[in-house]
Symmetry: C4
Subunit: 231 residues, 4 copies
């Protein structure tokens, strides 16, 4: 079942090491089929070289395995919670990519300091808090998803306008309308994390992008008046 | 029409990801045919893997598409303004290359701190100001070109002696007598941006290159008494 | 003799430059056969391109060469001491990998600042002291091993829970249940060294990971209640 | 003439971009034939892809071209002066490699902070002063060589014990008993420049390597009691 989605998810997972975002098995990508309420995710801890499209695991939005002989990614329940609470998204990616992980370890939001950021993220990328002991005991991976959802709700953020988050002390999650876009957003998030870190090193007083430039760049690529690309 | 120039522009665009200056479609290169008053530029948002020489778009210096089925790069009007006001230049390149973008985000000129810089840029590479709301409303891309031209006029800079600029909060534009040189200048600008950032990290009191060394290195490669290379 | 172990050690040594941990011949990997009390190690100073599995040298735990025409790695006696005093380990790797070496040169323990660290190292990676003149005279390489063992004993560390160490002014040693795991642990140690350095640059007040998150991540991958991977 | 030396020099020049030390034509390697008092050097400004072994230029120690249709590297006279004044050396390499150039731009000696350094350089790598206007007028490239020689004489350094130098505001020169070793020394100098820069970033109080460790590491690889490798 869902053979095409499995192929997409398989390819998306392979893209992660190609873009230098993932070493060994430190990443996972998934995509959802909204009609059937199912998503497809990478199996846990499998070498990227040995992995086949048919190894992808099919899971429902409560995290029950529907098809597949292998254990799904240990982060599967985080993906499930994101699909449940962000109905606009079609794909999710988790990595420990170097520069985004550095901001996550620093416990800081990534501010919008340039148009590379503004072309994809319409404002700061938030850093979500660490889990309490109680939340860890209740279920680490599902609660991680709930803390992300809580962060977006409290800050009144739109999940498609800010298609990513940092987990304090851990690393980034990104998403998008499909899994290919989620991968692209992981690449962008890592690059802007690098740009902004060294911008601050170079000039401690560097400012965030003026709102008018943030608007211009985000809106020339997204929304009804977008004029970037061939559409 | 302009088949050879299309091929040159196509190859120049492919060089950008090869040199690590561009991810995805975040860059554009163009070249001008001065006799016909036309230039050739990359189409907007097209994957580099899928792109062919015949996809290049032909535009006049007012930005009217003369030939091509695809939309030109969204930054096309910036290129047009540069060709109009800098009659010595033959090619233009725009990227979000990491280290040059960091200086752009920091809002700082790149000072001439070494001979790697002096071999190509005869002084600081200026950082041009952000656009006002009024300029954005009038036309973001054309006005970006005008701000570059304004910067060179106010600072009395020669576009061939300083073949590049940073846009505050955005990234670099470079140019040259042809598009191949414009690509080379983008590589140089990114490398000197990296060198200078870490020079300042290592020694906060590091000085700019003495004028006599700047002169010596620039002039042994450029101008009538140059003696570098095989000419 | 030990043909399979030679092949494993040979492959492990080739992995080091592939992962960017080693330039030229600046690294060495070994694996032990506990039943026979012998270990297999890379020869000294041989080009990785020219090296064959049959060039691997077989040594006993006192450092006597048992088989092989070539000199073993000059660090061989350090490996021997580690195998003698850490009976749980099956493989050892030494490199001068960039980021771990930077922490070694700085003379600092690598603190557990993120889950990338906690997935492999259950706490700080210690930096062992430099040798005294007397120790150097007694035998630099064997005494280096003894200083590592002393460090683990004084700090009451378990060699499998903290499968690596820094040598002050020198670089990292890692180990694991087998040589493949020792290589993986070298990759992890270098990456967390990079992550933590820039985390501190970005936020001088960044904290170590809370104990509850360290526990959760280490224990979901290691020990009897682990649930990561396919086992 | 000197066909084998041409091949060695050609290969050494190709190694420079392979090791990431050189972009475009920003580097040059040469080797000397002491019996004939001639050296072989890369031609000036030629693309590495187009270059052949037969393009190498033969020059005498006063810098007169003895064989070859192409102009020699514009830095040829610096090489000539080094061969004349350092009779122990057989090969010379000049690059603008990133991390060594950063120390050159910072105008600082590279201190011996680790064993990666001590395995090749027996103490700090000196940074030579910039040339005066008078020296530039007298002949920039030859005088650059003289300033290097002056630096070694004033500091009482042995050119084989410290096989490299930084030129303030410019970049590194390295050398060795042959050109292959000179290339290796360029790789080492760039790597230790990177290691030491970030060591200082991480720990402003990091110390130089104790003399006893510097001695041990340098002397286990060099001199009559060396025991590294297969000799």
């Amino acid at each position: 079942m869902l053979e095409q989605l499995k192929e997409e998810v398989f390819q998306a997972n392979l893209e992660l090491p190609k873009h230098g975002l993932v070493k060994f098995t430190w990443g996972n990508a998934s995509a959802v089929d909204r009609e059937n309420g199912l998503f497809v995710i990478k199996p846990s801890g499998l070498d990227y070289e040995a992995m086949k499209a048919s190894d992808m695991v099919v899971v429902d939005l409560d995290g029950n395995v529907v098809e597949g002989d292998l254990n799904p990614s240990s982060d599967m329940l985080t993906h499930a919670v994101l699909y449940k609470h962000f109905p606009q998204i079609g794909g999710v990616v988790h990595t420990h990519s170097t520069w985004a992980t550095i901001w996550a370890q620093a416990g800081l939001d990534v501010p919008a300091m340039g148009t590379t950021h503004a072309d994809t993220f319409y404002g700061s990328v938030p850093c979500a808090r660490t889990l309490t002991q109680e939340e860890i005991d209740r279920g680490y991976e599902a609660e991680t998803g709930h803390v992300i959802v809580e962060t977006f709700k409290e800050r009144k953020l739109d999940a498609l306008e800010i298609p990513g988050v940092l987990l304090h002390g851990h690393g980034p999650f990104t998403w998008g309308e499909d899994v290919k876009t989620a991968v692209t957003n992981s690449v962008v998030l890592d690059e802007i994390s690098k740009l902004n870190l060294f911008t601050r090193e170079l000039n401690h007083f560097a400012q965030e992008l003026p709102q008018r430039i943030l608007d211009k760049h985000y809106l020339r690529k997204h929304g009804e008046n977008a004029y970037y690309g061939q559409n």
